[in-house]
Amino acid sequence: MKALDDKLQRVTALELNGLRVTEVLGDEYEKLAIPRQGTPIHDLNGEVLFYRLSLKRGRTNAGYADIAVHEVLGEPLLATSTGLAWDEKAILEAGTAAARKGRRSLKFDDVRFVAFSFPKIALQFLQERQETLMLELFTWAEVPREGSKDRKPLEPSNFERWSLVEEMPEKLRRERARTFQERLSLWDRLSRRKLNLTAIAKDALLSRDLVIKLVDQRELHYSARDADHHICYELRGQQTNVWCVGASSEMLLNFYRYTYDQIRLAQELGLGTLANPNGLPYSRVGDVVTVLENLTSNALDATMFVNPDFNIFRDEIRANRPLISFIPGHSRTVAGYTRSLFTLVGDIPYRGLLVYDPWPPNMGVITKWENFATQTYQYAYSAVLRHV
C-alpha cells in the first residue's frame, strides 16, 4: 500500500461530496470515511493510472472510489460503488495463494495491481522488476504475455493485455489532459476553504460562504451582464400551422430589435400568404441565412450549422445570441441552456435547452428544459451583430 499525499484525499472528498449534495450518490454514502491511503493501479507501462480508495463505515469496508492520477483518464473520479468492498490485503493474500498453486518454483519480490486491459485489473508478480506472472483479479486466470499484432489502437481482443497510456491517440490524450487539469483547478480553488474533507456528507460542501456551482446555465439577457436583468427574449406563436420558420425568424429578429411580422417574413422566405400558407421545403434551408442578412442590410451575419451539437448552442448563448433550431419538420428558437456539472464518469450529464417554440399556432410554448438527449437537431442558425 502506498501512502498518498493529502491532495488525493481532498480530491476524492470533493468529487464524492459534489455528487452527494446533488443526490447522485444516495444515503448509503452518508458518513463514509475517506482514507488518506489507497491501492495504486498501474498501467501496463508501469505508470500509476489511478488509486482505489476503500470507503469505510467504522472499521468495515463499505465500498470504494477510483480516483485517477493520470491525465489520460480525463477526470479524477472514475467510479465508485458501495455494493462491492475493496480489501487490498485480502486480495493480495488470495492472489498470492492462487499464484503459488501449481507453480512451486515461482519467484517474486514485488506484487502490484495492473490495469492490464483498462478497467480490468490483474495482479502482476515481479522478480527484480521483471514480470514472472500476471493473474486476473478474482478469476486468477493467467493473462497471456503476448498481445495480438496488426490491430488498431484501443481495439484489443478478448483477454489481451494492452497499455491505455501508450495506445491513447495524441489528440484524445491532449483533450483529456485539458479536462483533467480543469477539474483539478476547480478543486484546488475549493481546497483553500475550511471544509471537512475526510468523509462524505450531504452538507459537507454547504458552508455559509461557499456557493457550489452545480449546473452551468445561461439564458439570454439584454446584454452580456447576467446580473442586471431577467431573461430578455419573447415568444411568438406561429400564425399558421406551417409558419414555424417565419415565427422563429421573427423571434430572432425581434431580439435584435428588428420588427418584421410573419406575413412579411413569409414573403421573404417563400412561405405563401396567410390565406394560402406553405412550409419551408427541406431543400431551401439555406434561405434562412439569406433572409436574416437581407432584412437587416447585413447588420446581422447569419450562419447555418448542420447537425449542431450541444456546444454550438452553449457557445452562442454564452455570447448572448439566440439561435433558430430546426428539428425534423419543425423550427423553434433557443434562448438558454443548462448542463449538470456533477456526474459519474461514463454517465452522460443532463443537458437541456430553453426553447421558445412557436407551436401551437397563435400561442407557442416556452420549454424549460428540452432534454437534449431526446431530440434530433438538424440545423441551427445564429446571427452575429456586425459592429461598424
Binding site: N241, N278, G329, I366
Partner: protein, 164 residues
Amino acid sequence: MSSQKPTEQDRENVAQAARQMLARGSVGDEPLRSSATVGGAIPVRGPNRELHSWFVPLTVGDRLAAFFQFLPDRTLMRFSSFQRRPGDCSGCPPVAEWLNADRIRNRAATQLQADETIGEPFLSYDRSPDRLVWAVPLSHEHDERLVYVVGDTVYTPPSGNTFG
C-alpha cells in the same frame, strides 16, 4: 417508441413522476408549484398509433398552464409552459380546448365531408413530437383519414418534406 399497450399502472407511474418533479422544484416556478394541479397522463401516439410518449397537463383553474412530456421509460423529454410571466395564466389556453374530447371532435367536425363519420380523437403529433395535435379519424366506409386539431386550428396533415 413502444409497441406496448399502455396500462393504467403506466399512466399512474407517469403522473406520479410529474407530481414528484413539480414538488421537488425540478420544473416550474413557485407560483405554479403552489397553484397547479397535475392531471392524468395521456398517451401520445405516433403515426401508427403506437405509444410514443406521455403528455401530463398542469392546470390552474380552467387554464392549461404547462405540461410535461415523458418518454415511455419516464425520461422527461420536456417541460413546457404557456405562461409568459410567472403566476400569469391570462394567456394560457382553456383546458377544454386541449383536453375536452367533445370540443375537439366538434372542431374536427368542421372538416367532415359527405357520409363521413367522426372517430375517437387521440393525442398525436405532426411530424415532430414537439408539434402536439389531436388526431381525429374521419371515416367513410373502409376509408379513413385524419384531421389534426390543435387549439382552434384544424387542418389536414401536410404532405411533402417541409419545415412548418
